[in-house]
């Protein structure tokens, strides 16, 4: 059974929206990733763990910088699987890995999914892999019990939304805007239309909204639009960057911020 699916079902029963928190694995240092995850996991429902890549074309400046820090700190796919296994010993929270395609391809798709599953990972998001190129990823992920989360954008045509849902398991990732990741002041209005379209077509797949979400206010807006999950990345990564030399301050800042974001997912 899928941990991600269970989480959404449970939240549905308690009338909450899932708070999905993104961090870059190994940022600012691999040794800090488990304590950061533990701090965040007190409030988040799902952890999204980024694998650093040299050329992150879907990411804005914040996550680009995190990627560079993590690579400099010696982060590799092998180490990510070790980190996930270490985190898994402490918590049952679903872990979704977000990676660009080339590191996965280079590692070997089948081998990657196997290692991810053995470490206790639950899902995979590949921002530069459209469904047309995803058959191998979906097959090996399925074989290893890994959910495949695909993205739907404001430019995605109606008929394609249905196809993307068919490739997706766990949840679908709705991109809230035209652009790259990064904290924004406001949330665009297209989100509501996207959510409605997904819910009508596939009531069994929860839509989660990400890109630009950085404030409890945004979270409340998205919850009201009918989303089942909300993804916050850059705003959390910014806090990590700001306090990268003072881990204790970082942890308490993360706890405070994530508590506020989670509270907002309960405001129906």
């Amino acid at each position: 059974m899928s941990r991600i699916r269970d989480t959404f079902l449970e939240l549905e029963r308690s009338g909450e929206c899932a708070f999905i928190a993104y961090i870059m694995a190994g940022d600012p240092d691999p040794s800090l990733t488990p304590p950061i995850v533990q701090a965040i996991a007190q409030y988040a429902d799902i952890i999204e763990l980024g694998i650093p890549f040299s050329d992150p074309i879907a990411d804005g400046k914040t996550i680009q910088a995190a990627s560079e820090r993590a690579l400099k700190a010696g982060m590799t796919p092998d180490k990510i699987f070790e980190l996930i296994a270490a985190i898994r010993k402490e918590t049952d929270i679903p872990i979704v890995v977000m990676s660009y395609y080339n590191p996965i391809l280079h590692f070997g798709i089948e081998r990657f999914m196997k290692r991810l599953s053995e470490g206790g990972g639950d899902g995979i998001i590949i921002p530069d892999l459209p469904i047309e190129e995803a058959d191998d990823v979906v097959r090996y992920a399925k074989e290893n019990g890994i959910d495949t989360i695909f993205l739907i954008a404001p430019t995605t045509p109606e008929e394609r939304i249905e196809q993307i849902c068919a490739y997706s398991s766990g949840f679908v990732y709705l991109v809230s805007l035209l652009g790259v990741t990064g904290a924004r002041e406001t949330i665009s209005g297209v989100v509501r239309t996207l959510i409605k379209s997904v819910v009508e077509k596939r009531p069994d797949i929860p839509p989660a909204v990400g890109f630009g979400v950085s404030k409890p206010k945004h979270v409340r807006e998205i919850v009201k639009s009918g989303a089942k999950g909300v993804i916050v990345g850059s705003a959390i990564v910014e806090l990590i960057a700001e306090h990268k030399d003072k881990p204790e301050v970082m942890i308490s800042a993360l706890e405070e911020f994530c508590a506020a974001l989670k509270a907002a997912t309960r405001d129906r």
Binding site: Q64, P77, E132, A153
Partner: protein, 400 residues
């Protein structure tokens, strides 16, 4: 304008495809549809031919190098793309894509540039057709190709300095893609080489085919037959595919693509993607690339900024595996020697990129791949005015 072979599902063999964020999938479809529609449209073709003839200065001459041929011991011709307006073959493609952008109703064009030649060619069509042009260029390239930066600005283009990653062409492409993701509704990404997701490798190839088509009829007229060998430099691979494409079926014509060997393969300071790289996905396409053991893209080096790139066009990857084109390398030093040779013997100042192709001819003669009766055509893809500062510095270093 001629539409070449259509890559099925966007693939050349196993290479190519569309590895991009979902936001862009619709725009790629829109571009493909527009290209397939207008590429066959008589009015579009006429307009393109008109601008190529009256504005770009086509056809470009095929020039026989009498003195250099004597020195090298072969019959050397240069396809003079350096004489295209703007100083390189890049304008062939930017005129075509700008006409497409106009028909698609996009009023803003963005582009990446390494050497600045594609940036300049984009700035030119921005001014020519009244489109807003914005160019992404790595900090390192801005510094070493200042003349081209100034030219772009004179033509009204905005130049964005890219300070991330290795601060060269690869990172300029990343930034251009990020811009496109954000402004996809009103913006056309005017990609400058046969790289990136489908349909770009096909579109850019078709707009550059004019190089090979002209060469074919010009060499027939000059020599009464086809050449024995064609040589072109390969960064992303647009001038080379443009020259090679219409000779692919002529098995007696040997084709050589020359990559930047930089300071030598063992130094790891090079850009020899096909020669020394491995398969992977970069900038939307599956092709050869330079990567480390974790699939991270490696920084590259070449004295020629236009070759300084860790990826290469997917159709080249296909031609390499097929064995139809031989891909080899030329070092910074060899390219500089060829540069000086062409200046002194023929009074032509080539771009450092094109000097790589020229240098390879000397190698082919040396290893007796070609002899004194053989006819070789080199694509002189650009002129070297932009490179004089780099060359001055390099020659100074060599002499001290």
């Amino acid at each position: 304008m001629y539409i070449g072979e259509y890559p099925k599902a966007g693939k050349f063999g196993e290479y190519g495809g569309q590895f991009v964020p979902e936001v862009l999938m619709h725009a790629l479809k829109e571009l493909e549809d527009a290209y397939l529609r207008f590429g066959k449209d008589e009015q579009f073709k006429e307009e393109l031919d008109f601008y190529l003839r009256t504005f770009a200065g086509r056809p470009t001459p095929l020039y026989f190098c009498a003195r250099l041929s004597d020195l090298l011991g072969t019959k050397l011709y240069l396809k003079r793309e350096d004489l295209v307006h703007g100083g390189a073959h890049k304008l062939n493609n930017t005129i075509g894509q700008a006409l497409l952008a106009k028909r698609m109703g996009k009023r803003r064009i963005i582009a990446e540039t390494g050497a600045g030649q594609h940036g300049l060619a984009t700035a030119i069509v921005g001014a020519l057709f009244g489109l807003k042009a914005e160019i992404y260029m790595g900090e390192e390239d801005i510094e070493r190709q200042r003349l081209n930066v100034f030219r772009m600005k004179l033509m009204g283009a905005e130049v964005h300095s890219v300070g991330s990653g290795s601060r060269t062409l690869k990172d300029a492409i990343n930034e251009a893609i990020r811009d496109w993701v954000t402004n996809v509704e009103n913006t056309h990404y005017l990609l400058g080489s046969v790289v990136g997701p489908h349909p770009y490798p096909m579109i850019v190839r078709d707009f550059q085919r004019v190089i090979g088509i002209e060469t074919r009829s010009q060499i027939r007229e000059a020599e009464g037959g086809l050449p024995d060998a064609l040589v072109a430099c390969v960064g992303g691979g647009s001038n080379s595919i443009g020259l090679f494409y219409d000779f692919l079926d002529d098995e007696d014509v040997a084709l050589y693509g020359v990559e930047a060997g930089g300071e030598g393969i063992s130094s790891s300071r090079h850009s020899a993607t096909l020669y020394a790289g491995s398969k992977g996905v970069l900038h939307g396409a599956y092709s050869y690339l330079l990567q480390d053991e974790d699939g991270q893209i490696l920084p590259t080096h070449s004295i020629a900024p236009g070759l300084d790139y860790s990826g290469v066009g997917p159709e080249h990857a296909f031609l390499k595996d097929m064995g139809r084109v031989t891909y080899d390398i030329v070092t910074d030093k060899e390219a500089l020697q060829a540069f000086e040779l062409l200046c002194k013997y023929e009074g032509i100042l080539p771009a450092l990129e094109s000097a790589h192709a020229l240098a390879y001819v000397a190698r082919l003669v040396e290893v007796e791949e070609i002899g004194s009766d053989d006819v070789v055509v080199v694509c002189l893809s650009g002129r070297g005015d932009k490179d004089v500062e780099i060359i001055e510095r390099a020659l100074h270093e060599q002499n001290t």
